[in-house]
């Protein structure tokens, strides 16, 4: 290895996947990782638990003990286990100098995220989200502060980033207090909320656009019927409508669809497998 390569900072993607009773997050991570490798061409690390058996060839698999104790309501209003604690540990667990932390339900379909690595930053978060009906500006609760999405997080190992993830840890550990303080709507612990609060505190109790990814994330909240590519356009069919748009990254809330063979085949087709 020559000297310039030695000095070059390592970049990579980290995914967290802990299976619950109803969702096979590891399977979803396997599918999402194919797209990440195809479009971003970055090494991928999966952080999961000891029971997981990932099928994708990750560059690294880190097995950790994960805390239980968080629950959320599913579409049928059933209370289900949600193993989303300890996301802050990514700072210590990530083997990369520059890490792109993605949720497994975020399908990478172009290389636009690579542009973000080229600027000076400590960390970047997804401030804006758009759905097919328009830009969605959500708050954490009534008369609360804006919600920032932890779906896409980019960070470098710097003192400010360390402080940020330490704050996320503190917020998770004292979530009852912060939930009341910030008048949150959701009762369950959400990483989006913890990241939003940590970001606000770290920026002097203000919203600093310097930490934002400057474009919105396209999110489909409805159940997906199918995804396809026709004439270089991405066709997203829900049960209510079809959306035709240019190929781009997509955040899909419908975890059931992400586990289907149809989704797997769509990804295979995109990756020319």
């Amino acid at each position: 290895m020559n000297k310039s390569n030695e000095l070059e900072k390592s970049k990579g993607v980290v995914l967290f996947a802990f299976n619950s009773d109803t969702v096979d997050y590891v399977k979803i991570a396997d599918t999402a990782s194919k797209l990440i490798r195809n479009y971003l061409k970055l090494p991928i690390t999966l952080i999961t638990d000891n029971a997981a058996t990932p099928k994708f060839e990750y560059d690294r698999v880190i097995k950790v003990d994960v805390k239980d104790g968080n629950y959320r309501l599913d579409k049928q209003n059933n209370l289900i286990k949600w193993r989303n604690f300890d996301r802050y540990s990514v700072y210590d667990l990530s083997p990369y100098d520059e890490t792109l932390l993605l949720d497994t339900d975020y399908l990478v379909m172009d290389n636009s995220l690579l542009r973000l690595f080229e600027q000076p930053f400590d960390y970047r978060l997804q401030y804006r989200m758009q759905t097919p009906t328009g830009i969605s500006e959500e708050e954490m609760g009534p008369a609360s502060l804006p919600l920032i999405w932890a779906t896409v997080v980019l960070f470098r190992k710097t003192p400010k980033s360390r402080l940020f993830f330490n704050l996320v840890k503190r917020i998770q550990q004292n979530y009852g207090y912060y939930k009341v303080l910030y008048n949150m709507r959701d009762q369950s612990y959400r990483n989006d909320h913890a990241f939003s609060i940590a970001n606000i505190i770290l920026n002097g109790y203000s919203i600093d656009k310097h930490t934002s990814i400057p474009w919105p994330m396209l999110t489909v909240k409805d159940d997906i019927k199918s995804l396809s590519i026709k004439n270089n356009l991405l066709v997203i069919r829900t049960h209510e409508q079809a959306i035709v748009t240019i190929q781009q990254d997509l955040h899909i809330m419908d975890k059931e669809y992400l586990q289907t063979d149809e989704c797997k085949n769509f990804v295979k087709e995109l990756c020319n497998e």
């Binding site: 636009s112 542009r115 973000l116 080229e118 600027q119 000076p120 930053f121 758009q130 097919p132 009906t133 328009g134 656009k209 310097h210 400057p214 474009w215 919105p216 396209l218 019927k225 004439n231 270089n232 356009l233 066709v235 069919r237 049960h239 209510e240 409508q241 079809a242 959306i243 035709v244 748009t245 240019i246 781009q248």
Partner: protein, 105 residues
């Protein structure tokens, strides 16, 4: 008869909304108009290109998307900005024409 009617209802539900597609396409092109230069992130716009073109010196400092002052070498930057602008606008036009053709699918 009911089956046919249900099929029609299903097909109508599956129709696409031209205005939504048009807006999403525009939003994506606005994203892709961003380009990196000298550790800064810029959005290639007619205003940016006009301003840099009219600048009388070889170098200048420009504020990027993140409100940082970035040192710009006029010609180098201009070539990049114009090239990027043209690529994205051509893509927008092509995709826009396709979306117009499939107003209902």
């Amino acid at each position: 008869m009911t089956v046919t009617l249900n099929n029609i209802v299903d097909q109508i539900k599956q129709s696409t909304d031209y205005q939504i597609n048009r807006r999403l396409l525009r939003e994506k092109i606005q994203t892709d108009l961003h380009f990196s230069y000298n550790n800064g992130l810029f959005k290639s716009t007619p205003e940016l290109i006009s301003f840099v073109t009219s600048w009388p010196y070889k170098e200048l400092f420009l504020e990027d998307t993140y409100q940082n002052p970035i040192l710009i070498k006029k010609l180098e930057f201009l070539n990049l900005a114009i090239q990027h602008y043209q690529t994205q606008m051509n893509l927008w036009h092509t995709q826009y024409e396709q979306i117009k053709r499939i107003r209902k699918i």
